[in-house]
Symmetry: C2
Subunit: 270 residues, 2 copies
């Protein structure tokens, strides 16, 4: 099954655009888990089980595992998702990018080592560096376009041939880079006007939208500006707003409620 | 000791600009090592010991360890370098880039988990995403500018305010991004004219130059166009040309000779 089909199936079965970000920080997870042999994985399992009914995707952020020297727990997380929730899309958020021979190794990491359905990648090095990822025709490749951080415009909004750089990226992703029909784009919820512009340039591409919740993006604007003509096309990510909704032993119940609340809002706005 | 001081010391003591890239591929390393418990580390150790006398830096490429699910051997490699060759600069080539909170985790990965002297980063997301790295004032942050791959110009050569995007990156790195005085730039040997332009815009910044050897960059042009006024400033990387110079049991001897040959050429051209 190709990536777009898997996404469509996940959207239909969940009736949700919610992507739950799995960014576990050992200093922030509940005390009850800190003595576990695999505390990040134990935390993730509880969050996944508590939120799966509301999620079309899960997105573990590679940096949290690498920065805490716990990449083994990321492997366990992907394995758990694959075995227990095969209908939910997985995204390795690692923003990879390198020359061809090296990019092949990164594609192998994402799709074979972790077995992710999709991976985020950085376009700065050019389309030839994305090909080793898109060559996996049954997986998705999610290209950074207009990111959610405050300084994202510094390069991404520079005018290139009369349009901002991020629009050039959107055009390439809609065009020459998408020969295998498995690209998507990252556009931050914090820039709703740019989100509308990307949706114009790439009417059908799935958009991964981080930045609602802790970063302040507006959900109504994201839905209004980001949906495709058929009312789909969005992976709206929330990480901290869900995984740290509670900090006590009942953290999973709080995560459940936070995910439910967000999805209820999405459905009301649909 | 800050990064520039450490680099200067490494250049002086080695009388060399050679950076040896450690990109071990299990399918390419000599048969004699394939049954080792830690084959990539065993290979690296032999290459490091055989080439250290000619190297100012070692640059392990993260993708090769991640793509082969052997990140533990990358940890061992950094530990080995730190303990045995503390005067040689280490570069984690992982091309990281993410929003602030996440970038902090990547900085922790590079500088605390691996203990690298420096890390390569991608500038697409903007200067605020580089700050968590440059905040480690005793470490180096090496920003992608004009990369060595065939398609690198697709975005990097787009005209932005009358100059190509890569020149804008070079200007920022020479200016507002370098408040902690620990930035360097990546410029491919395959683009000697662009290398000269970057050197003009950033007269003092260290430049990491991949692409001599297997990728076809010209060593004389790199030295002529890339050196600083005092004849230093370059980290000229060779990976495949050295580590796979031989494929039999005497691979380390061949790596030694290949490194020596390249450094002899550099010195003759100096």
């Amino acid at each position: 099954m190709n990536f777009y089909d898997k996404l469509n199936r996940a959207w239909s079965s969940s009736q949700s655009s919610l992507c739950v970000g799995l960014d576990p920080d050992l200093t922030k997870i509940p005390g009850i888990l800190k003595n576990e042999a695999k505390p990040l994985f134990a935390f993730n399992k509880a969050i996944i089980d508590a939120t799966a009914e509301f999620a079309c995707a899960f997105k573990p952020q590679f940096a949290y595992y690498a920065g805490q020297n716990r990449v083994d727990e990321l492997l366990l997380t992907f394995e758990y998702l694959r075995e227990n929730y095969p209908h939910i899309v997985t995204i390795l958020d690692s923003k990879r990018g390198d020359i061809g021979t090296t990019a092949k190794m990164y594609a192998r990491e994402a799709f074979e080592v972790f077995g992710a359905d999709s991976v985020t990648v950085n376009p700065y090095m050019g389309g030839d560096t994305l090909a080793p990822f898109t060559d996996y025709t049954d997986r998705g490749v999610i290209v950074l376009c207009r990111t959610s951080n405050p300084g994202s415009g510094e390069l991404q909004n520079l005018e290139t041939n009369g349009i901002p750089l991020y629009e050039t990226v959107a055009k390439h992703a809609h065009g020459s880079w998408n020969q295998n029909n498995n690209l998507a784009l990252v556009v931050g919820a914090t820039y709703p006007d740019e989100l509308a512009r990307v949706r114009q340039l790439a009417p059908e591409l799935p958009l991964l939208v981080p930045g609602v919740g802790a970063q302040g993006g507006n959900l109504a604007a994201v839905l209004r500006n980001g949906r495709t003509a058929n009312g789909q096309g969005l992976l709206i990510n929330s990480s901290r707003g869900i995984i740290y909704a509670g900090s006590g032993n009942d953290f999973a119940d709080h995560a459940h409620t936070a995910a439910q609340t967000l999805v209820t809002q999405m459905r009301a706005l649909a």
